[in-house]
């Protein structure tokens, strides 16, 4: 298995790995897994208004999975929250120069982002409601 330089770099120093401190405001969390592929990922997003302030993640999986999570965390920073729906894993796979057979794993990351998106909407509704 050979890895693109970006994958190696993001694997060795994964920006955005970890969690937010307890009680950080505007947090939503999304989690997804695929046991057949041996991957699990949890993504935390801090949204202020409709803007993503910052992202944190945890991953059990291969280097490509970690690099993709790190890439996403960086890419989402400062974007409108609906960017959560718009990230295209096919694009990200190409950007990171990751083998096609890894796409299945990246889609698990997409699931986690979707979960964030839904959680965020619920939260948003709640806030409107109040």
């Amino acid at each position: 298995m050979d890895y693109s330089l970006e994958v190696q770099q993001r694997f060795h120093s994964p920006q955005g790995a970890g969690e937010f401190a307890e009680g950080t405001p505007g947090l939503v969390t999304g989690e997804a897994e695929d046991r057949t592929l041996n991957v699990w990922v949890r993504v935390q997003i801090q949204v202020v208004g409709t803007v993503i302030r910052s992202v944190r993640f945890r991953v059990f999986g291969c280097p490509h999975m970690m690099a993709a999570a790190g890439w996403v965390a960086e890419a989402l920073q400062g974007r409108e929250s609906n960017a959560l729906r718009e990230l295209d894993m096919h694009e990200i796979r190409k950007t990171l120069d990751t083998p096609l057979e890894k796409l299945g794993k990246l889609l698990v990351l997409e699931d986690a982002l979707q979960a964030c998106w839904q959680a965020h909407n619920v939260l948003a509704q709640g806030q409107k409601g109040s």
């Binding site: 970890g18 969690e19 897994e33 057949t36 592929l37 041996n38 059990f60 291969c62 970690m66 057979e101």
Partner: protein
């Protein structure tokens, strides 16, 4: 391969010992022993003599007469020649083959090919430590069983089967026994003078010899159909111009591979590595704790993705439990056979030490693995239980 990297993948292949390289070199020089060993002129005779000397060296290492050793291109071919050759030559006598689920692909894929040709194959399961009980073999033998094929040293776990006992129960039932001993030489004694074994697959490149040369031991009188045709070399069992330099290299490598001298040294290295790794939280050894070869250590690091760990310690050459480096990690068939979950199988690493491994390399490896395991577990913090079970 840069000098900076640490090689702990001796079970995959070994470097050629300098003494072996020197012996080979003489056959690779313009005025050296280059003629065709089948030629009748003086150059041919000189090459033939080297070939026969090497045959003696190899035979001596496994406790067999020289004329029972035929040269092949490696253990893969030897396994195929033994299994296909015996099953086809005895097809009228019986069509049943017995093997195990932990065999190397060279045996498993050949068994599968035999099934496609209408032969029947029984696959024995090992216990959770990777051992096949001789009784299991005895129970599986049927009237039409022709051959049992069981490996000696497993290439992923290092587990050693009790070939002497398995041989007895095959012999007593009049069934032939083939043993894949590709991993054994220089690590675990192969005693064909004491074992009731009919065929043995050998290779040079796991024992500091060159790649692309191996041998098949065939007990005299064992009927065998050749895989390839075209000349009288190797008693027509295996034609083709004999590769003198390769054969000389294998002979020299087997001459050097004195188990009594090498095994204790390997044990010290392996145990030093295990002493360091075993303190990491949750690590477990795959395979039998004592009945195993001194050169292989197969370790599971629960909650740590194997591919990530290997990249994390990229300067250290180790391999997955499974040689398979594809992305959807179909878990090692050997580790699955031990009952490991997919997650644990793919969290396993095979470390294999060798003649040139030194203590500093081992200590460095312990330090790096310990650190990387901690880092990856941190990155996977909060992961569900299945990731580590």
């Amino acid at each position: 391969m840069t000098k900076q990297t640490i090689y702990l993948d001796y079970a995959a292949t070994t470097p050629v010992d300098p003494a072996v390289a020197v012996a080979m070199r003489e056959c690779l020089e313009p005025d050296g022993i280059f003629a065709n060993p089948s030629s009748s002129h003086s150059g041919g005779q000189a090459a033939r003599q080297r070939v026969e000397e090497a045959r003696e060296q190899i035979a001596a290492r496994v406790g067999a007469p020289a004329d029972t050793i035929s040269f092949t291109s490696g253990a893969t071919e030897s396994d195929n020649l033994a299994i296909q050759g015996v099953m086809l030559a005895h097809r009228d006598r019986g069509r049943h083959l017995i093997t195990s689920r932990m065999e190397h692909k060279a045996v498993l894929d050949t068994a599968a090919a035999m099934e496609r040709q209408g032969f029947e194959v029984t696959y024995l399961d090992s216990d959770s430590e990777g051992l096949i009980a001789p009784d299991q073999v005895a129970e599986a033998i049927k009237d039409d069983t022709t051959l049992v094929s069981i490996m000696h040293v497993n290439n992923e776990t290092g587990v050693v089967q009790d070939i002497a006992a398995i041989g007895e129960c095959c012999r007593s039932r009049g069934v032939l026994l083939h043993v894949d001993a590709a991993q054994s030489i220089g690590k675990v004694p192969v005693s064909l003078d004491q074992w009731a074994v009919d065929l043995v697959a050998l290779t040079a490149h796991k024992t500091y010899g060159p790649k692309g040369i191996g041998a098949l031991y065939v007990r005299p009188g064992t009927k065998l159909a050749p895989l390839i045709y075209g000349g009288d070399q190797e008693g027509s069992i295996r034609p083709g111009t004999l590769a003198t330099h390769q054969i000389v290299g294998m002979g020299q490598a087997y001459e050097l591979a004195d188990t009594e001298r090498e095994a204790p040294a390997l044990t010290v290295k392996r145990d030093r590595l295990w002493a360091g790794l075993s303190v990491i939280e949750g690590v477990r050894l795959n395979g039998h704790p004592t009945q195993r070869s001194p050169h292989v250590l197969n370790v599971v690091f629960p909650g740590v993705d194997g591919e990530s760990l290997r990249l994390g310690i990229a300067e250290i050459a180790v391999s997955a439990g499974a040689a398979c480096n594809s992305a959807a990690p179909e878990a090692s068939h050997v580790l699955s056979a031990l009952g490991l979950s997919d997650a644990l199988a793919s969290s396993s690493q095979r470390f294999s030490v060798g003649r040139f491994t030194d203590a500093a390399e081992i200590d460095y490896t312990i330090e790096r693995v310990t650190a990387e395991v901690a880092r990856l577990r941190e990155l996977a913090g909060g992961a569900p239980a299945w990731c580590a079970n």
